[in-house]
């Protein structure tokens, strides 16, 4: 619609500056030191929704970080879209690898560099601005609700309870999420699923104190050595995961889906070059896209123990730690896999150490059907603004709340992500391309238009 285009063109600098203000708030959900920042961020999100035209916006306290809810109901007879997003971000560590401050956004080469620029502040903010655009052009074809949480990056531990307690408030015909990526601007795609997650921490203790490695070394178990052996035992020589039962509930993807996946544009040489690796690594018998899409994985997210400073310290440490997470595919249960992982590390520990293993967070995998009205509306919206039908792909990441949202609200989710895999999500120098940000704001109103039209029809 011409009016949308004109409105955006006239206000695009302000849209961007507002987002930059939001990115300046260090809303790191996992860090208790940022509790006040989380509150400040929730308040800012609420205000931005009111400014954009929401009739009501409320900050709900939870046992963790607050949830922001807002709505603009135009006509009870029209379909209702619930936009889900999250205002919390990943920790910015390691800080020394950032070219500019993670919470001091800079625009460089047409990209917004900041923690949260793509994941997910920049993406949910497209919906806020799309609301403003429709409000100010008197062209909102659907009822719109917003559910913007502050605990996605820590597994949404409190959102399930909130959703269960507010089913009427959140009642809708579809849930729309922009928290995923496209293959590229030239090859737009839509995620049809996200993987589940099981994330644990393992602590291995040898002696009750750090020891001199000469006086005690060789006679007392070294917790780093033991932990390394435990980790090494998790993958076999073909990089299959060896934890007993890990693959039991995996529903293998059919040849048809695998054939379709093989058609998605993928340049392995370019992929390796971008990552700076000579060779890829992964489960034997599967392609790169299959490894990150349809297969469960087990990754080490962190490890530490002993002396990690400058130079040499001849210590035999008392403790070693690891953070370990599995990405899960549909039909694998996050709780089951978490228990399986915890028990595995507890069980394989030799008697010369003690192991404390705990669950950090998790969530279920989720798949959405591509024949739903909402998916079709989203695909048509993307085709309208990108000039190309989106390719359906399975995303490798996780949005833990998806399965809970569908269960509690009884509707499907549509993923309309405008990020790119190369956005450095969860890494230093996270970025979001300006062209993607603006293209998202341009595309979203078409989704509402087509979804309203299809539902009417």
């Amino acid at each position: 619609m011409q009016a949308w285009k004109e409105y955006q063109e006239k206000n695009k600098d302000r849209f961007l500056n507002e987002l930059l203000d939001l990115l300046r708030i260090p809303s790191i959900s996992s860090n208790s030191a940022n509790k006040e920042d989380m509150k400040r961020c929730a308040a800012a999100v609420k205000q931005s929704l009111l400014n954009a035209g929401a009739a009501t916006a409320t900050v709900y306290e939870t046992d963790g970080h607050p949830v922001v809810y807002a709505e603009k109901i135009v006509d009870a007879s029209k379909p209702t879209v619930l936009v889900y997003g999250h205002y919390d971000v990943q920790p910015p560590d390691p800080l020394n690898l950032w070219h500019s401050g993670p919470f001091e956004p800079v625009i460089k080469d047409g990209r917004i560099y900041a923690r949260g620029s793509a994941d997910d502040k920049g993406q949910f903010y497209m919906h806020v601005k799309a609301l403003e655009l429709m409000t100010n052009t008197n062209s909102q074809p659907t009822n719109i609700k917003f559910l913007i949480e502050g605990e996605e990056e820590v597994g949404s531990p409190n959102l399930g309870k909130f959703v269960a307690a507010h089913k009427d408030l959140l009642k809708c015909d579809v849930i729309l999420i922009s928290d995923t990526a496209m293959i590229s601007m030239e090859n737009p795609s839509m995620d049809i699923g996200v993987r589940g997650l099981a994330y644990i921490q393992v602590e291995v203790t040898g002696a009750n104190r750090d020891l001199h490695s000469g006086v005690y070394g060789g006679a007392v178990a070294n917790p780093i050595t033991i932990l390394a052996k435990m980790i090494a035992s998790c993958h076999d020589e073909n990089n299959h995961i060896t934890i007993p039962g890990f693959y039991n509930d995996v529903v293998e993807a059919g040849q048809e889906e695998r054939n379709l996946m093989a058609q998605a544009p993928f340049d392995e040489a370019e992929y390796k070059k971008d990552l700076g690796v000579q060779e890829l690594w992964g489960e034997k018998g599967f392609t790169t896209n299959e490894r990150t899409g349809i297969r469960p994985t087990l990754e080490l997210n962190g490890i530490w123990g002993g002396f990690t400073g400058e130079g040499a310290k001849t210590v035999l440490p008392s403790k070693a730690f690891a953070k370990i997470s599995a990405r899960l595919v549909p039909n694998q249960s996050s709780d089951n896999i978490t228990e399986m992982l915890l028990n595995y590390f507890r069980k394989i520990a030799p008697a010369s150490v003690t192991v404390h293993a705990e669950n950090l967070h998790g969530g279920e995998a989720y798949m959405t059907p591509i024949d739903s009205l909402a998916y079709q509306a989203a695909a048509k919206a993307i085709e309208t603004t990108f000039g190309k039908k989106p390719i359906p792909v399975r995303g490798g990441g996780s949005i833990p709340i998806c399965s809970i949202l569908e269960r509690e609200l009884g509707v499907k989710i549509v993923f309309m992500g405008f990020g790119l895999d190369s956005d450095n999500l969860h890494s230093p120098n996270e970025k979001f391309d300006l062209v993607n940000f603006y293209k998202g704001i341009e595309t979203i109103p078409y989704f509402h238009q087509y979804f309203a039209a299809i539902n009417k029809g």
Copy 2:
């Protein structure tokens, strides 16, 4: 001698307070931030030697931290004893496990708690006070030289050059070192050897940046997983070291020595209880004392990579690091083993990662004969003050300069250590028992007396 005893009794509080002042200086040789503290500590050591009666004392600059040399020559015809010690200390990390500040010494339950209290400030300072004691009682039977360095804890990288350049200055009949431990006050022992050391750092790099573990996990090598596999491969199921050639140059201890070792007091239940472990760990076919004495070992001193903060971060890290050191027995070459370790980690790395491995420090093992005049003088001195002949044992630790001192100066070393294995060397809450400190000061003059007498005879 009664006069020694009386002098010490009268001055014991001052002796202690002087040591505490020395312990307050954070002389951490591995940390470049402590460079000025190192200079300050060297100056304090020099002053303490002059105060104790040394005729000259000099701080020599080196390419690293300074060396302190002092001497008191009483009669050129008398034998000369060179006391070696070190004023540098290990880093105090992890700081949060200390009950009091590592450089704020406290006396508790008859023990001095501070970094360096036993290793080695408290021990070399016994020799400084023994000098004072002999000076002020006009009873110094030998010429005494002091060589107190500041780089022992980082492998003495510059002392070899200093010794080679000052052979005349350092000329002596024996080198006396108090930087080892006894079995207990009830079972005095003397080390007849120290192990060598080869200390390396390994850096494993996967992708050129931290990645989202969902988007890239399973398709790109995880450097923590790879590093864990590499570490796990270093020991077999019997805890033998598997690095090809590692044991090649080991001269196996004879059955006679092993029988002697088996007679040293050792209470395994007590040992396990002290360390808080259910089961010991070590190379199959060897006892605990053999594992820490006559066998080479490979220990992980530190490991780090990825996210190590609070909570969960789903990152696939770019890099993982480990600090790894081997303790070596006589006839193993530190340089050879270092090369062996470096090559091993470089060679077993899969093509999906790059490995940078570097030498951090090292030193040769050293053995001293128990039939030397100096060893006999030391044993007799200990018997005099402890009422028991010392048991000869092999120490598990390393004093890298020993083999160089013997080679350059052409004399043997005698280890007369007054510490205990339980002194928490290199660990939080390092301590030195007051009774050991004073007993050392009491014993040392007897060594000089007996050594002078034996040499005369």
